[in-house]
Symmetry: D4
């Protein structure tokens, strides 16, 4: 069994690296959005030309990023969505809804303080974790049947 995992959401901490390092040796491949914040914000105008309006500046960039994110979510078996402490992170919740409607196995990763605000997202998930380490343990268990400890 092989798993294709997409790591969506928060891009300001090293949670993706922790999961990828922890999953070394498992039969799993990872995809993720572009996590270079500046590149992600400006890709549209950098490639397709400048916009006077901030709205269309953002719009062109968001659509380029969608080429990557929708393709990757569509190809994934498992979608992990991480919510951090800052920002609105509506794109993370959007990805969770998108993945859910496609029937992907959804794992949500967030601290307990967000539980009430994320209850609808969590209700669509097959696992709600607090730590990247738990996501690694889930992947190991799903792929090998081995539990931690």
């Amino acid at each position: 069994m092989t798993l294709k995992v997409y790591l969506s959401g928060e891009i300001h901490t090293s949670w993706r690296e922790e999961i990828m390092a922890g999953a070394e040796g498992l039969d799993v491949t990872f995809d993720a959005p572009v996590t270079d914040h500046a590149a992600s914000d400006d890709c549209g105008v950098a490639i397709l030309g400048p916009e006077q309006s901030k709205f269309w500046h953002d719009h062109k960039g968001a659509k380029l990023n969608a080429i990557r994110t929708r393709t990757a979510i569509g190809a994934a078996d498992v979608v992990v969505v991480r919510f951090g402490d800052k920002y609105k992170q509506w794109n993370a919740a959007f990805d969770a809804g998108y993945a859910s409607a496609l029937g992907k196995a959804l794992i949500v990763l967030h601290g307990p303080d967000h539980s009430h605000a994320l209850k609808e997202v969590d209700a669509a998930a097959l696992a709600v974790a607090e730590e990247p380490r738990q996501v690694v343990e889930i992947l190991r268990y799903v792929l090998t049947g081995r539990l931690p400890g």
Copy 2:
């Protein structure tokens, strides 16, 4: 032509009523989530029995609400998602992603200050409006071809 419209998102202002009143006479039907905040939060335990843990209290309620929201979004032609000024509103963004993956016509409704944070959601939409009145005008135009003014 008839349109089935689902009104998702913010439940603290009267935007739904404004849209429904404005659309009177058009060949359109509206659905919405349960907008009684207390009922929506407690429905799970009120019907299926109490939980000691707040997480499962929320979880049972969120799932009951999902019976309504997923059925209604699945049946809708157009999904309008409103983002207000307060709270995380991750369920609204989740609904937008869910509707988008199902290929529903998406209309996003929010103030200009949220444009950057909502750029991924807006990029998936067929219209981004700021006022409920504009949603009414969209529905009227789509159904009758008549423009405002």
Copy 3:
């Protein structure tokens, strides 16, 4: 909002009647399998001719019943599956899996003593109820937003 509800599973108690009576006045329609046990067992040979082998006797009947059950589950918004105290009831669990793969809103109805054996079925459900009354309350809440009491 209208709901089409399919009532699958146990056919030896009056739970369907209780739900239908309780839901009177709500905008809901109900379907169910043929609940006349003898007719359900013998319909294949009664209509299409006798079989010497019990296996094919059963097989012809099960397929005729599938015309009804698969059509009705396919058309339903909500599928309620009731597990009673007796028999293997594998057809009920089969219906639950079938409904789940189609993305139907699943409500499972069973006593607490079956919780461990039904954990995989419950994990796919949006509600796990113990009493027909609770199913009525769910339907009322989903359709009207009103809670019991």
Copy 4:
């Protein structure tokens, strides 16, 4: 031609090993659920933290297991579901219904004493076998056209 086969159901006898050994040399890959009963029961709390209620203990585990089973059934060409002599085995029947709704080729494996209780499941199958050896012979025939003996 290559076949991806998922072996669902009973985990207390060596039927999976018999099939995999018998199919050696054929162009077939096998997946299965976690068959370590204790790990399968406790995986949720072992990874995601303890629960006071047995229901949620089971629930968290069943959902983690669903990450594996749904992904594997979704990827399979053929789903074999084995019903043994003991327990309710509702998860096996659930998998059969789930696979059937996805249009997977379904093979059911059980003793003749279960035929009446499994008639709805058998009616959805492309083969009903009694012995693991027969499943091997089916796979060999489907892949190579060669019959036993």
Copy 5:
């Protein structure tokens, strides 16, 4: 419960009329191909202009008829396919395959002399009947639970 039934296949006997007459009073609607053989053969050139080649004469007609047959099969719950004694009737078998891939409930109607030649078609069906009367009885049973006699 309502059933939409499509009556495909042989157009030289009155089997459709027998079924429709027998089903009077049941909550069922019937569709069928154009059964006027000459109109069905010549519709393409009669409407869209003559062809010198017989192949394209037939081709234009077959495509016009497909507007009706594919739309009706797509909308049906149950597809009945009747094989008679004469002609190749490949369009009937084509319709059966088409309906089967769409997951429609398939009922095949033919005499016992065709059983071997139709074994692949029958294997995809939920019922194999010999007489139109039996189709009526199936529809009555599926809709009302009542058996004949």
Copy 6:
């Protein structure tokens, strides 16, 4: 049998009115894009606010129109696409491709001088007509089996 027909393409002649008048008395409903050229071009900015760039002016309008066209094509049984003598009409060809991928019955309507340029579109159609009258005759034949004359 009822048909839902979407009339896509050229908006400068009265072909839609001819078809609708000719089809009077048939069990058919028609939808169409907004055919008021000025309204169709300016709807985006008229409702959602002005744009400095012509590109985004057009873009906002095209997306509003897509709410209507995609919903209507998605609901249609038959999509008629008319190509006239002037303009690029790429939206007409886009609609034809969109309808074709959804499996809709496609009727293309154009003069013989466009046959070579439209050969890929015609190849996806179930009928290629030159006159609105022929579309009426097709609808009448499909619905009633009656041929002209």
Copy 7:
């Protein structure tokens, strides 16, 4: 570009071998049903045990063969269906309908004497060929753009 081609239909001449030999060097893989007529007829009882009734003897075999044919058609890009001079060949027409409903590229291969009887099947095809050599030429053209001669 790689093509997966399924070769359905007539099993009494060497047309499959001709196509496979002619396509040597092209980036194409072939699948086919079991073409050993006796094995194909008897596989059900040979593996799953004897039947007294010829109908169920055939039925069990047809279902085993369906494991192979439906899996292979589902995985194919192109389905070639060959109709020969003898027998009813309803399974070939069934496969054509099945493939057509799944949106597979369909190539029909038959002599001109069958054109009228196969007009509905041909109308669903992207090519109608008379000789295996033409199918090879189609595959070469589709894969490489090179025409014969």
Copy 8:
């Protein structure tokens, strides 16, 4: 991450070669229609025999080409559609609509003079580029996160 890209549309300039050369070293594979204009026009009659009518000559060729184009679009993650300065190019717009309905990531490539005529096509795209170089930059950004310059 790997991308499968289909390059549809204009066949008279070297834009495909520019993109493929520019994308060297990226994890991307390209498909395209047959770009030999004469072969593409005559393939039908060259392989399947001559036609007296130009319409059917074109028709047979367009269908053979559809075997390639529909298979390749169906397998693609990204579809790039290029509109040039000459000809009607309705097949390009058809491909764009087809790809859009399948949910493919659509990139449209055309000069600014075509913006108004292509507004409906652009509205369905995730990027609108003017130069092949920009498409290369999009692919590099999507695959690696690196921006030009």
